[in-house]
Symmetry: C3
Subunit: 211 residues, 3 copies
């Protein structure tokens, strides 16, 4: 049996796992939502609930952190990781809200593709989080982090292509307000992918220090 | 008499009070300015002076922090709180500067309403700051923080409505450059409200730890 | 001989110098690039290489930081400074990438001027970094930091003028998509100048504490 970085009675690990499960749920729901976009979809309320649940867990975690004198991993890492996981969900909710405000009707394939990459990244974030306290799985956790970085690169390349297409061609034929809306939508999903990369970075740093 | 979290000779509390008074002054002046917008108004210089004053207090505070070995509240909280209070004023100055650059002429009611919410939030920030060192007033300070959160929600809903209106209707009838200007103006005031919420969060965390 | 804040065997100072040399190289290359803009220029690859090199140094530095128990300067300052130096290069790469995506053809004089200010600021950042460990040069290092602040102001004023011109005049005659592209380009260079100012702030704080 491996040595646990975080003893069970502290339960920081448990809270992190709950949060990363929430991240997967948010990314998955967002992917489903954009595949069949409807501004009246019940999936929108579902994402709001997931975000609210995330806030509650974060509150609980920060509260425990403030009351815990000795923490299993550096307190600043606990704080950062918890905030970064929260950021992913916040970003997903923000892009969805903006799409509703902008009354977006037809979703293009590019956004669906970006959402799919985000879901894959969220699944890897969850795996890395759930195994980061197991010393025997250090290499595997590091591999997840590398994969998260690769997905961020993949997403970034797709984002750049979508943005170039958006501004491409005879400018006069483009509706500038539509360009503004879509630029912002793509940027927000790309930002959510960046947040996943931040999480991977923090996990790497925690794992390195724990060895 | 309540126990003081921050002994008078340290004077961090005094510096925080001066800063939060400055925040109120900035928000109040901004509200007056947008009610009677004029790119040549003396209120614009006044906000620049308030911002400069804020920078000086912050400099003084960080300086004291660097020279103080034992602080009455966690040094990272002092640093964060001071930076977040500064951020509110910076954001107010930034939106005002941008409005001047964009040569905005006519102010709409929505912006005045947002500025009014921001002023109310700043007043609550000041109250929470001034009473946070009094252990007998913990509940009241927590209530101020809840009210600040509620105002942020109120502002956010108003912001979303304004943004939806901005992009609404027959796109061809909208002047895209005007849309860009107003989108940015609304977003900046909403960001200032977010900064007030950050301050409330930090105060809550300080008060919890102090008990 | 002055007392070294950072003993040679720790080599944090050496890593910082390498990073700030990299910052100068990035800013210089960017200035040359915009003076003779060509989306197929080999200078674009050069900036990508500089950015990659910067990432490697940062990784090395954070790694050393995590393994070093007692650091010559506060670990949070080492971490912040390294991140802020990296931010300058990231921002330069980001604006260049965006210019390529937007298929910008003709560069205006304003951007060349901003890039020139950025190069001058980067040179000062490098000087301040290279001399910050020499106690005899405290005044000179502080002077560099003041100059960096002045350049940020100069850049900010130029940025505001460029932005005002961009939105000025008969709006109907402007191509909104071009306005969006240039607004973002100017903002990104201005953001790089802000990052230089952040570095100056952190150096000031390190030098004050070291005395």
């Amino acid at each position: 049996m491996g040595f646990n970085l975080m003893p069970k009675d502290e339960n920081f690990q448990g809270m992190f796992s709950r949060t990363s499960k929430n991240v997967v749920e948010a990314a998955k729901t967002f992917h489903q939502l954009v595949k069949n976009w409807d501004a009246g979809s019940p999936l929108i309320d579902k994402i709001h609930e997931i975000e609210h649940e995330g806030d509650l867990i974060r509150h609980e975690l920060v509260d425990k952190l403030n009351r815990t004198f000795i923490t299993p991993i550096d307190r600043e890492d606990i704080y950062a990781l918890s905030g970064e996981l929260d950021d992913i969900i916040d970003m997903i909710q923000a892009v969805m809200d903006r799409m509703k405000i902008y009354r977006i009707r037809k979703i293009d394939d590019g956004l669906v593709k970006l959402a799919e990459i985000l879901e894959r990244s969220a699944v890897l974030v969850d795996k890395a989080i759930c195994e980061m306290d197991d010393k025997k799985k250090v290499t595997r956790v590091m591999d997840y982090c590398i994969e998260i970085n690769q997905l961020e690169n993949e997403g970034d390349n797709m984002f750049k292509k979508l943005l170039a297409d958006l501004f491409d061609g005879d400018d006069a034929s483009k509706n500038p307000l539509e360009v503004i809306k879509w630029k912002e939508t793509y940027e927000a999903v790309e930002a959510a992918l960046d947040k996943c990369e931040n999480v991977a970075c923090t996990i790497e740093s925690i794992v390195v220090k724990g060895n």
